[in-house]
Amino acid sequence: MKPLLEIFCTFFKIGLFTFGGGYAMVPLIQKEVVERRRWLPEGEFVETFAVSQAIPGAAAVNSAVLIGFRLAGYGGALTALLGVVLPSFAIVTLIAAMLGGFKELMAVKAALAGIKAAVTGLIIYAAIQIGKTAIRDKAGMVIAAAAFMLLTAVRLSVVLLIILGAVAGLVLAFGFKTGMEKDV
């Protein structure tokens, strides 16, 4: 059992520094939860991320609940959820109260342009890091490349891609007996 206060602070930090949607959160969670605190092994983190994509709702919220539950049961899930939601809730309420004056602030816009460029690098880094764990053989490489192409060129839905991945995994494992020797 991990102390709830630590879980809260970690997810508060993650919520505060996630710009540009759920995927931008992947490298942050990885750094804080996997590398620094060693709460989860990399493989379990990738599994959790895949599950968070397969259920409806924001990926950040789903990941927080899944990881929080894994760390400290129901209390952990609620604590992580509260931590990840609170910074954005407070900031947006502040902006709404200031009645849109925020949008015209050029310095804020400039900072966000810089952050957006860095976030692109952050997400590429997340793909590399997760790829080291998630891709175990040539079949994995082909599946990853196919998913990337189907997403960017054909704009297939994320849920459909995850279902297709599961089908491919079942066919490969039970039809061709590959990839099941090693444990994640």
Partner: protein, 197 residues
């Protein structure tokens, strides 16, 4: 009454949006217009603000719209509504997931799903980069222009920031929070130095 409407509308939005925050925008627009909470223009402004503030876009837009409708109480109600489906479903999945993740069928499925997540994340980098690194989206119509004059097609400053971020992360194992903070400062610096982003 407004609280109940906010709760049920945002619960529905949270329940039916698969594939992350941006996927829920069309459904949210439908609900917001149906209740006449905002005009189309106001809704577009909300999405712009929700996309720039940190955190999940779903939570941001719920908090914003709820606040506009009836203050802090409305903001809390709409936010709770949008995260409640995730909370319930993720808890149910968690219980089964921990029990069955070592089952051969689950392991086989994840053997195929895990590489898909790599493709999804690489795809997310492309979608975000399209609006930051490139000046124009690469399509069948613009690909020739892009090849002819690649330097005019990309934002040089943003390419440098992205590359620097990547090098800092890969080579120097920099903390992502540090990278985000520095890139924000660089963005402001470039603006005041007169380099238009």
């Amino acid at each position: 009454m407004i609280y109940f409407q906010l709760l049920s509308a945002f619960f529905k939005i949270g329940l039916f949006s698969f594939g992350g925050g941006y996927a829920m925008i069309p459904l949210m627009q439908e609900e917001v217009l149906r209740h006449s909470w905002l005009t189309v223009q106001e809704f577009a402004d909300v999405i712009a603000v929700a996309g720039t503030a940190p955190g999940p876009i779903a939570v941001n837009s719920a908090a914003f719209i709820g606040y506009r409708m009836s203050g802090i109480g409305g903001g809390i109600t709409a936010t709770v509504g949008v995260i409640l489906p995730s909370l319930i479903l993720a808890l149910i999945v968690s219980r089964f997931f921990l029990k069955f993740r070592r089952h051969p069928i689950a392991k086989a499925a994840f053997y195929g799903i895990m590489p898909v997540t790599v493709g999804l994340i690489a795809g997310a980098a492309v979608f975000i980069g399209e609006n930051s690194i490139l000046r124009n989206r690469i399509t069948v119509y613009t690909v020739l222009d892009a090849l002819r004059s690649p330097l005019e097609f990309v934002h040089a400053a943003n390419v440098i920031i992205m590359t620097a971020a990547l090098v800092a992360l890969v080579k120097f194992k920099a903390n992502p929070i540090f990278v985000i903070t520095v890139s924000g400062i660089v963005g402001i610096g470039l603006y005041y130095a007169g380099i238009v982003i």
